[in-house]
Symmetry: C2
Subunit: 554 residues, 2 copies
Amino acid sequence: MNPTKQNTRKWWGWGYVGKSYSIENRPNVWPFLKQKLALTPRKCRIIALDDIELPPPKLTAELLKELTEIYGENNINTSKVTRISHSFGQSYGDVICLRKGNIDHAIDVVVYPRNEEQIQKTIIMASKNRLAIIPYGGGTSVTGNLELRNDESYDGGISMDMRKMNMIQIDNVSQTVTAQAGIFGPALEEAVNAQGLTLGHFPQSFEFSTLGGWLATRSAGQNSTRYGKIEDMLISLRAITPTGIIETKSIPASSTGPSIDQLFVGSEGTLGIISQATLQLQPLSASTEMCGILFKRFLDGVQAVRAMSQAGIVPSVLRISDEPETEATFMFRSQSANPIKRVAEKGGMWFLNQRDYSFQKGSLMILVFEGSPQQVALDKSAALRICKRHRAVSLGNIVGKAWHKERFLLPYLRDVLLDNGVMIDTLETAITWDKINNLYFNVRNAISKAIEKQGMKPLVLTHMSHVYRTGASLYFIFMANQKIDAELEQWQEIKAATIEAILHNGGTLSHHHGVGRDHARWFEDEVGHLGKAFVLASKSYFDPQHILNPENFG
Amino acid sequence: MNPTKQNTRKWWGWGYVGKSYSIENRPNVWPFLKQKLALTPRKCRIIALDDIELPPPKLTAELLKELTEIYGENNINTSKVTRISHSFGQSYGDVICLRKGNIDHAIDVVVYPRNEEQIQKTIIMASKNRLAIIPYGGGTSVTGNLELRNDESYDGGISMDMRKMNMIQIDNVSQTVTAQAGIFGPALEEAVNAQGLTLGHFPQSFEFSTLGGWLATRSAGQNSTRYGKIEDMLISLRAITPTGIIETKSIPASSTGPSIDQLFVGSEGTLGIISQATLQLQPLSASTEMCGILFKRFLDGVQAVRAMSQAGIVPSVLRISDEPETEATFMFRSQSANPIKRVAEKGGMWFLNQRDYSFQKGSLMILVFEGSPQQVALDKSAALRICKRHRAVSLGNIVGKAWHKERFLLPYLRDVLLDNGVMIDTLETAITWDKINNLYFNVRNAISKAIEKQGMKPLVLTHMSHVYRTGASLYFIFMANQKIDAELEQWQEIKAATIEAILHNGGTLSHHHGVGRDHARWFEDEVGHLGKAFVLASKSYFDPQHILNPENFG
Ligand SMILES: Cc1cc2nc3c(=O)[nH]c(=O)nc-3n(C[C@H](O)[C@H](O)[C@H](O)COP(=O)(O)OP(=O)(O)OC[C@H]3O[C@@H](n4cnc5c(N)ncnc54)[C@H](O)[C@@H]3O)c2cc1C
Ligand SMILES: Cc1cc2nc3c(=O)[nH]c(=O)nc-3n(C[C@H](O)[C@H](O)[C@H](O)COP(=O)(O)OP(=O)(O)OC[C@H]3O[C@@H](n4cnc5c(N)ncnc54)[C@H](O)[C@@H]3O)c2cc1C
């Protein structure tokens, strides 16, 4: 399968057509959800493509012809399905709109540049004709980053899909890769793997997200504890702005004024089109070990994680689920077809319960170590020692392996839940250690209350990941019965309550999802009045006519 | 001794009055330099303070009174020695001007804010009255960062010395420190050491430089390979700009747009006065080991360093001298007073020579490892294995210890050389591994040629330090006979030739010294036309009347 082929991807949800998160061999899922959510199952249909009515394109035939001349017939698309799929990202709200066919705004045309000249020409054309350009990577944004909502201001909207700019060059000596922005995660990682190297960037959206999208949103991969966020791997970039070309220098570090790299990272398509970037690679690890660890309480685990990170132990993956998420993970596990494994599982469970550990009230940690065999052995033993000091028990490597195997499958779960009338969404933040417990309790509480206020039973799952010396990220998943025909409002209410609790408790508005349009109203709370004013002034500097993704950051 | 007491510091050179780099017990220094430089020794006097004629202050008595009202008598200073010492930094050019009394520009008054309100009032006053404000940390800048040269544009120059803003607060849970910008290196490090923590930031100017200066110049300490540059340790900052206050959030990482922290880092006093910052700390290491290693050739050592860094071995100090620097280090070593040590040294030398190693034609590496005893042992053995593979021999821990002991003493050497008519200066860059050998050869060559063109014999010493996965920093030291009465021109010529060679060979204009006024003419080469224009536009945004350090970046 190939993520760059549009027709193999669902326009109404996550991933490939025909691929799904299978519930069949997970017998506990529905009983668990029924109990937790007081679920009243119902079947929710997806609107047929033919039944969707799209707003008519605003772009004149003349301008479309001009665009076609720039791109050639094969690199421009105005088909219905392409317009639909490029007018939204992959947030819960987006998917609700898509599934119901509630589409009140759409881009007019998708162009696929193959070179910077085409980008420049498009920018000039858009500047002259009041057109908006929305840079489009893999379309996996969850913060309303790809929409053109306020489209009265524009006489047309162009989605600039970068997937055909996907060339790649590897420097084996410096261990860097220079790639065009439209390259997808798997293609980039495979190319560098072939040289014995890795980028180490694995967001859960890995299969369908691109280098340009990662940079534009300050993405974090699941192995970020070891490899860093995408902005930490960045060596240099090139961006085409309406004012001119920005090209930074490929050097490991410098002392030459404000960082222009760190201005364009996170700019969410508002300052320029990132055309290429150079990133740091690392050698593929000689050795990898996965560990599952069970704590009695989540807060014990949080303490253990802090002790590990401050002792300089750097796993590549460090994830710990709170009690509700641990229970859900257990309930969602697939039943092994192998009867011997099943017996072994039961035996293990009995053993744990005897010692007062359980998946129903404990807290599960996944650790992955990478490096030389000696380093892995040293880190693992030091980490386990700390965990034991915090009353944990080691589960061996099976749980870790199961997590690893399914980590890119999980996003498919949402479609299954939506088919059955269950709302599910996630919000994430990062916070320093001194405030993490408070934030955890208060945000969980805020989510539950917001859902209860709507008359629903909430299920709130939390894990910690992306660990730093000074703090970590917390990731909240919430589920409830959908409010029929008020799905969007329901979601927006909960989201707002959650974000306000996050900000009130000192967390960041986003650790790796970005700001977009959906979080724009809180942007000033995050960066301050002058901070926001400066970001908007920078936009006006590089994009004086506000043609590039004009609504992000508010 | 206390670096915050102005009167104990030399106004004409480095460090404390009365402290010096003693040549007495280093019998080889003068013979070595005489031979290498064809030195014609001469005694160079320092002008007496009384003989210096300072440009008269431009600030009106009325404005001075207004300032005095803001600061109080004890926090404002217009004495001659204070004006002189605050009108220059510590570059070779600065020190030449000071020693000779060639002072054609000076600030009018030094103020010592104790709070942000005073800073704000000063900014308002300066805006109204065409005054320039130069933020002043420790005054150790080597890039002409503190001068007000083009002073016709201003009706007065204020040096804002931050030393009295030096409060500090430690968060033991998150392991961060929040400190005011004027705190000096030793005070900050001692305070966090008392809590079992370290910032790990030790620039060679450590004793006399401040947190605000480090941030404003993107400083790198000698242990940056492990602890990072100052910008990597930064969690948040607060800055007073003419447009308003910038305060970023204390979070370990986020995804909320362009980085405002990384805009103010490196801003060299042009965007705002950094009043405080929060930085990441680390626990003091349980174990430290220092190793000296001798390579046959510098380029073998460079290869070994690359292999180490790409294998993920992270010493806190990793420094390797090329052959000329290794020889000079050997010649500059102090003679042990202990006869047994001397015999041992001779024995060691004989042993090395037998095996075809020597300090006269080899390449010396210093490695310092920190961490848990197990981690140190693992890193050390892995590093030594790589070094041996590159034909190196281990020298045990004596050389490393000697380096460590003298590392903050070396800056005093310049004054001794200047007393004797020897020019000495340093330039540094960073570069990716693929280009490092070329840059090394070509820049060395360019320096030598520039000096030879002046009819002098050059001595060029190079070391590599501040190591990254993708490359490293190279640091060049050059010496020659001074060109009598044309010292400044001589220096400027060599500096220009060196910088052009660095840029031509792909290196950065500066890895840790900054841009200032001295490098401003190359700033556009470094960041591009649009990059420079954006930095200047940001200045105009935060400082529309250009009152803050108006000449930096050009
Ligand atoms: C199921 C799921 C799981 C996810 N997991 C993670 C995760 O683990 N970690 C994480 O960080 N994120 C995650 N995300 C969010 C999302 O995948 C990231 O934001 C990702 O970086 C977006 O990349 P993309 O290529 O899909 O960009 P898009 O969604 O297409 O675009 C995102 C933004 O970047 C801009 N942009 C894209 N390309 C360019 C370019 N070349 N130049 C300028 N601007 C550009 C767009 O205009 C838009 O503003 C997840 C999303 C989903 C749906
Ligand atoms: C002998 C010697 C050795 C050195 N070794 C190193 C080294 O190893 N590593 C290294 O990185 N550098 C080194 N340097 C350079 C210098 O020490 C650094 O640039 C240092 O960071 C400057 O700090 P300072 O407090 O002295 O700042 P200053 O020299 O006083 O100021 C430097 C710049 O920062 C601005 N500034 C200072 N404080 C503030 C503030 N609070 N807000 C806004 N702007 C401010 C000033 O306006 C100026 O532009 C060395 C210099 C010398 C002379």
